[in-house]
């Protein structure tokens, strides 16, 4: 059971907007700890999509955006494209565990 909870799957048609939620608690997202998001194609290296809850590394399209409120965070993808079909993970730090923690991952299917 992951400390951070994500929906197992989400789907959307090309061009649509989808969001992926990441729910934590007062010992991780609910504190000053930021949330980071990764895109992972199976068998490949994960890629940092969002850091510091809302920031995009250079080279990441602005179709990807992040937000955080209370003990939850979200990744939004607009203008969905076929190549966005991948697994997405949130990550934060948990003060109680003194560990970095990942969500269980969400598989995005582009219909």
């Amino acid at each position: 059971q992951s400390v951070l909870t994500q929906p197992p799957s989400v789907s959307g048609a090309p061009g649509e907007r989808v969001t992926i939620s990441c729910t934590g608690s007062s010992s991780n997202i609910g504190t000053s700890h930021d949330v980071h998001w990764y895109q992972h194609f199976p068998g490949k290296a994960p890629k940092l999509l969002i850091y510091g809850s809302t920031n995009r590394p250079s080279g990441v399209p602005d179709r990807f955006s992040g937000s955080k409120s209370g003990t939850s965070a979200s990744l939004a993808i607009t203008g969905l494209q076929a190549e966005d079909e991948a697994d997405y993970y949130c990550q934060s730090y948990d003060s109680r565990l003194s560990d970095s923690v990942f969500g269980g991952g969400t598989k995005l299917t582009v219909l």
Partner: protein, 123 residues
């Protein structure tokens, strides 16, 4: 180009030892922690722990404490993940990742990842 390149796939028997590597290049190796992340078959990412290449100080997730060790060789900018006695349950894809501290609050993301090393433990 900043990159982490990991060693190739391994097939081992239970009880055997193993060390896999992660070579950093294109940046100052000692200024970024290296984390190790496990992905068991069909499962998500799990943070195992991290090592500071500047002094080899390591921090382990309790789930992995005592079962794996981390080390570095700064002369060849390489980090290692090591097992002394493998179990079948260690079968997984292992990633190394570079720690990215972007503010003064200690928040850490992982900005560069290795390609992964598949470890298969089977009798």
């Amino acid at each position: 180009e900043v990159q982490l390149v990991q060693s190739g796939a391994e097939v081992k028997k239970p009880g055997e030892s193993l060390r896999i590597s992660c070579k950093g290049s294109g940046y100052s190796f000692t200024t970024h922690w290296i984390s190790w992340v496990r992905q068991m078959p069909g499962k998500g990412l799990e943070w195992m722990g991290k090592i500071d290449p500047s002094d080899s100080y390591s921090n382990f997730s309790p789930s992995f404490q005592g079962h794996v060790t981390f080390s570095v060789d700064t002369s060849i900018t390489t980090a290692y993940l090591q097992w002394s006695s493998l179990k079948a349950s260690d079968t997984a894809l292992y990633f190394c990742a570079r720690g990215f501290y972007y503010d003064t609050s200690g928040n850490e993301a992982f900005d560069i990842w290795g390609q992964g090393t598949m470890v298969t433990v089977s009798s």
